[in-house]
């Protein structure tokens, strides 16, 4: 007998790939065979990656970082020395001291004879024809080597000679000017030779760049808010000692910046400070859940349609792991392709958008900056989402029963009460967690856990909600019965789809609840600075400041026939108030110049209406909410003292005994206190400084638009305005963007699930057509499918969203603070249910989606559809 010994089998070299070749081949074949389904899954994964990649690139490009701004700030210099606060400079101050608060000699002592460049900024009126605008102006030497990079020339040239200026796009736009026009500035004509931007002025605002030899501008009395920044070009980078010395010399009035420090500052994070890790983690988890739920049905359908193949694999020896790999391989391959295409397309989209942006807003964007880390993160999230989406179908595939699959039996369908109970408990726990945290510490980490628990709870309830559609369908007409039955019987597909809609709708409802509550809270607690529809225009001191008469003219031009009243203030001095009988232990109350009136001013303030009787006999009105420890001024008499200092250093003190009248509420006239003309005369007298527009009787009450126009007109003349605007809800773009994204997710989830249903249930649809359903009936069934998915998902999402929305609203609306009145405190929280959004989620969107699906879904031709999709119409020809 001969014995044959077979040689040992060679061990596979790549152990990691063992067992994957057949699953990968099957996955590839299935993906190719069912291109529409594969495309749908890839879209669900790839689209968010595309958007994230595009957004990250656009934001990074638009975010002009410190290092990118360095040339615009320092030119080719190393250090800037500039004043902290702009101050009105006396004429010719630059030549004498430099207006930085540091003299040139002091700078020279520290940095030697290093080249320096002074950049003087200020405000001045510029006019073209009859148009006049208060413009910022920058006066320097554009041709200086240090100035390289300070200005971004958009058109024409930089000024090189006296009488030339470059203008900002904002100024040209405001005056309707062009290159070559001559502007009237400070009684002289300056010709526009170019258009430029600079870091020293907002490009959208009017500003001019003038050559330094146009020094009469610097010396002009009409130049207000003038300040000088000195840029120093050191031979070697500034040392800490030099910077310290400059700072020490300038004291608190100067800011010293060094280029080295500037460039060492790391760029801002992509989204500013960024959310807390807990909030970011929660958001990331929710995004992955959402994407997985959106893409999940595609893999579920894939498993259902491959069930026969899987059973045959199993019958031929494939174990559960191999079966699972078939689905996971598909997810991995589709996910990888989707993120690759998504990321590439996202960057391409960003390139297009930024190119377009550069044409529309020249200079507004930095160089194209692709945030590879963000793109990579989005890609990883995409692939992880695909794997999570395929996990449940893969598990199902691993459980494939050979007998069941080959016998076309799906097994019994029960009601997943136990899972739902766990879900309800999780939901209750999440609610309690949020309730506890938002009413106490409000820690983000635990609140995030609460939100996740809520979400998981609702997702666990979805299978029961879907299963309950089975008996519900019994009493519905055929169209809805087919739709509900399909959802209930094909739970592996419909649960994920409805979960996706519920999660998205939950986010939408949560944000809507929060924003609606905040809006309701702001509306209910809104306090205007003045009675609604009134305004106070203040005259400004200084050469360019407007007089009260000028302001009155300006106001009448904007709002003719509106009642105006002139109000004075006590002459400039330091005013203190000390209660009578209070000895030295009393701290005086420092107040600004009192408003002076015989009473009418009080009529603009509801709580302090008609103060004329109080102001008589040396009365002094003081609002209760302006000062702390105000009760000591509640009644009785006090001494009001005005102290002034003469240029020679002498002090003048005038006092008057006044009768105190504490007024509960605000005295919204722009002054701390009010006195009568008699009282003012007994001190230092009064000067007219403001006009009140409108009165409390509604006469001449202005609309918000009129108030804005009025403020603009007053500003044009150098005055400032306080207005009493009616409440206007602000457009909360952040909320709107989140809500729009949620709506897109609801729509995507519903349409994707419906499309998959139509694909998966083609045979059933064909049979229904064969037994006599009209084409419209089949379309209506498709529409009903969308309706069922959207409504069930919407109902669950509404429940899911209301809880965190309410708790978040409660946290944010239980404290009222009106800073201008100094009023604050805890109040009853405002909870506003967003009924319109709920109606949209439960009625509007489902009906709209059902209509769209009904209109676009193809009604299968009875025989053709049945044949193509496997309905056994006969074994013959």
């Amino acid at each position: 007998m001969s014995v044959t010994v077979s040689p040992p089998r060679p061990q596979p070299k790549l152990r990691a790939t063992r067992g994957w070749s057949v699953p990968i081949r099957l996955a590839y074949r299935d993906a190719r065979r069912h291109r529409a389904r594969s495309l749908l899954a890839a879209l669900m994964i790839g689209t968010p990656v595309l958007l994230a990649s595009a957004l990250a690139t656009i934001l990074a490009t638009a975010d002009v970082s410190f290092s990118e701004r360095t040339p615009a700030t320092f030119g080719s210099g190393d250090v800037t020395v500039s004043p902290v606060v702009s101050a009105l400079q006396p004429a010719g101050s630059l030549a004498e001291t430099g207006s930085t608060g540091v003299t040139r000699d002091e700078i020279a002592t520290i940095v030697g004879d290093a080249p320096r460049l002074d950049v003087v900024t200020g405000s001045i009126f510029a006019a073209l024809g009859n148009e006049q605008v208060l413009s910022r102006i920058v006066v320097t030497e554009p041709a200086s080597p240090i100035a390289v990079g300070l200005f971004d020339l958009l058109d024409g040239s930089l000024p090189e000679r006296p009488g030339e200026v470059a203008a900002s796009p904002g100024l040209l736009d405001r005056l309707g000017a062009r290159i070559g026009d001559e502007l009237a500035v400070d009684n002289r004509n300056l010709r526009i030779v170019g258009v430029a931007t600079t870091a020293y002025a907002d490009r959208t605002r009017p500003w001019l760049l003038a050559e330094a030899s146009t020094n009469t501008l610097v010396a002009s009395e009409n130049l207000v808010d003038a300040a000088t920044t000195t840029i120093i070009d050191l031979p070697v980078p500034a040392t800490g000692r030099e910077l310290g010395a400059l700072t020490e010399v300038g004291g608190p009035t100067v800011t010293v910046l060094s280029r080295a420090d500037f460039e060492s500052v790391r760029r801002d994070p992509l989204f500013g400070q960024g959310p807390s890790p807990a909030a970011a983690g929660t958001a990331l988890t929710l995004i992955i859940i959402q994407l997985a739920l959106l893409a999940g049905p595609a893999f579920a359908v894939s498993v259902r349609q491959q069930q026969l193949s899987l059973a045959q694999l199993s019958a031929n020896g494939a174990d559960a792991r191999a079966l699972r790999r078939t689905v996971l391989a598909q997810a991995l391959a589709l996910g990888a392709v989707a993120v690759l295409i998504g990321a590439t397309a996202g960057i391409g989209l960003a390139v297009l958008v930024t190119a377009l942006g550069r044409n529309l807003w020249p200079g507004g964007l930095g160089p194209l900056e692709v945030r590879l880390d963000a793109v990579l993160a989005a890609a990883v999230i995409g692939v992880v989402s695909a794997l999570v989406a395929a996990w449940a179908p893969a598990w199902t595939a691993g459980q494939t029963s050979v007998v069941g699959a080959l016998g076309a039996s799906r097994g019994s369908t029960g009601y997943p009460w136990r899972r739902a109970l766990v879900g309800v408990l999780a939901f209750a726990a999440g609610s309690k967690l949020l309730d506890f945290l938002t009413s106490t510490s409000g820690q983000v980490f635990y609140a995030s856990i609460g939100v996740l628990t809520l979400t998981v709870g609702v997702l666990l309830v979805v299978p029961l909600a879907v299963a309950l559609l089975l008996p519900v369908g019994r009493v519905l007409p055929p169209v809805f019965r087919l739709a509900t039955r399909d959802a209930a019987r094909a739970a592996s597909r419909s649960v994920a789809a409805i979960g996706a809609v519920a999660a998205a709708a939950g986010g939408l409802i949560a944000v809507a609840t929060f924003s609606t509550s905040i809006a309701a809270f702001e509306k209910s607690t809104y306090v205007s600075d003045l009675p609604v529809g009134t305004a106070i225009a203040f005259a400004q001191s200084g050469p360019s400041g407007a007089s009260v008469d000028t302001l009155t003219t300006a106001v009448q031009q904007v709002v003719p026939n509106s009642p105006t009243r002139e109000v004075s203030r006590a002459a400039d001095a330091v005013y203190t108030l000390i209660p009578e009988g209070c000895a030295e232990e009393c701290d005086p109350l420092f107040v600004e110049s009192p408003a002076v009136t015989s009473g009418p001013l009080a009529t603009i303030s509801e709580p302090a209406r008609d103060l004329a009787p109080l102001l008589a006999d040396n009365g002094l009105v003081i609002p209760s909410n302006y000062f702390q420890d105000i009760d000591r001024f509640d009644k009785g008499k006090a001494t009001l003292t005005a102290t002034t200092q003469s240029p020679t250093g002498g002090e003048t003190v005038q006092s008057a005994t006044v009768t105190l009248h504490l007024v509960r509420g605000g005295l919204t006239i722009g002054s701390d206190i009010a006195v009568s003309p008699t009282t003012a005369d007994s001190l230092l007298g009064a000067v007219p400084d403001r006009i009140i527009v409108g009165d409390d009787e509604g006469v001449g009450r202005l609309s918000n638009d009129q108030l804005i126009q009025l403020a603009g007109a007053v500003e044009q003349f150098g005055g400032r305005t306080v207005v009493g605007r009616a409440y206007e809800a602000e457009t909360q773009w952040t909320y709107l963007i989140i809500m729009a994204a949620a709506i897109v997710a609801v729509v995507a989830g519903t349409l994707a699930a419906t499309a998959l249903t139509l694909t998966d249930a083609r045979r059933e649809r064909a049979i229904v057509a064969v037994v006599g359903a009209r084409p419209l009936t089949n379309r209506l069934t498709a529409g009903a499918t969308a309706l069922v998915i959207a409504v069930v998902g919407g109902v669950l999402g509404t429940v899911l969203g209301l809880v965190p929305g309410i708790f978040a609203s409660r946290t944010q609306t239980d404290f009222f603070s009106a800073n201008s009145y100094g009023v604050s405190g805890y109040v009853e929280p405002t909870i506003a249910v967003p009924w319109s959004t709920i109606a949209m989620v439960l009625i509007g969107l489902p009906l709209l989606l059902a209509l769209v699906v009904t209109l676009v879904s193809p009604g299968p031709k009875a025989l053709e559809g049945a044949r193509r999709h496997g309905a056994p119409l006969g074994s013959g020809s």
């Binding site: 009493v475 037994v771 009209r774 084409p775 009875a862």
Partner: protein, 270 residues
């Protein structure tokens, strides 16, 4: 199953009425080298009160003929009329109405809507035609009772056996006032005794005035027919009276793959 004679009365049947008329019908599938004549010049009339058995090997055109007769397909040339109306001129909506009201169709297998119970499947054509849910269900239960699966009315197709599923499908084809029954191997999944019961139900329907065409490979089932039509290569090769041929069967059972016919007698078949 109830006795078919209890529910039908053959006395008043007008057997001259032609329910389905196929005149020189050709049905071509594909183009060029893939061009196949599934039916090639077929003329056949199905009369009221007549049960026709279609026999022949696979690919002979039986199913195509049934599709055309049921308004599921239209001929390439020739005319197909159902209840006197040419199907070629009917809209899809009218064809659907035809299938709901007058034509019952039984497929070979897996031909029920999987998401509906047996009763709901049977009631579906009635409900689609506007009948109330309860009335349609009552009629469906009656019909299911006729085929012997009323006790499974609320089960889903996948939860019953193949034979029970097939009976449900037959019940759906029978329900209502169907004038025409078209069946493609209707008893393929049934044992012989149940198959006979199903054919008994079809026979009773026909005796009540309906017309039926049953495609089958089984000579024993063909013996229930008034006429047996043998097809091959898309043409009708012969037509004979099954009742008249009690001693010998000229073609026997066709092998589904090869088309070869084994000689059997009708008595053997019974």
């Amino acid at each position: 199953m109830t006795d078919a004679d209890d529910v039908t009365d053959t006395a008043d049947v007008d057997r001259s009425e032609v329910l389905v008329r196929l005149e020189d019908v050709r049905r071509i599938h594909g183009e060029g080298v893939n061009r196949v004549a599934a039916l090639d010049g077929v003329t056949l009339h199905v009369h009221s009160g007549e049960l026709i058995a279609l026999m022949g090997p696979s690919g002979s055109g039986k199913s195509t003929l049934l599709h055309l007769a049921g308004g599921l397909d239209v001929p390439t040339t020739g005319t197909v009329s159902v209840l006197g109306i040419p199907v070629s001129g009917m809209s899809r909506t009218r064809l659907a109405a035809l299938r709901r009201r007058w034509v019952g169709y039984v497929f070979q297998d897996l031909n029920l809507v999987s998401t509906l119970t047996l009763a709901e499947n049977v009631a579906l054509p009635l409900e689609l035609d506007g009948m109330s849910r309860q009335r349609a269900r009552d009629l469906a239960l009656l019909t299911l009772d006729r085929v012997g699966v009323a006790h499974l009315a609320d089960r889903f197709p996948e939860d019953v056996s193949g034979g029970q599923r097939q009976r449900g499908a037959i019940a759906r084809a029978l329900v209502g006032d169907r004038r025409i029954l078209l069946a493609d191997e209707p008893t393929g999944a049934l044992d012989s005794a149940t198959g006979d019961e199903v054919m008994g139900v079809i026979r009773a329907l026909v005796d009540g005035g309906a017309g039926a065409v049953v495609a089958t490979h089984d000579p024993r089932l063909a013996s229930w027919a008034d006429r047996v039509v043998f097809m091959q290569d898309g043409r009708i090769r012969d037509v004979t009276s099954a009742v008249a041929s009690t001693t010998s069967w000229p073609w026997g059972t066709a092998n589904e793959d090869t088309g070869e016919i084994a000689a059997v007698t009708i008595d053997d078949a019974r």
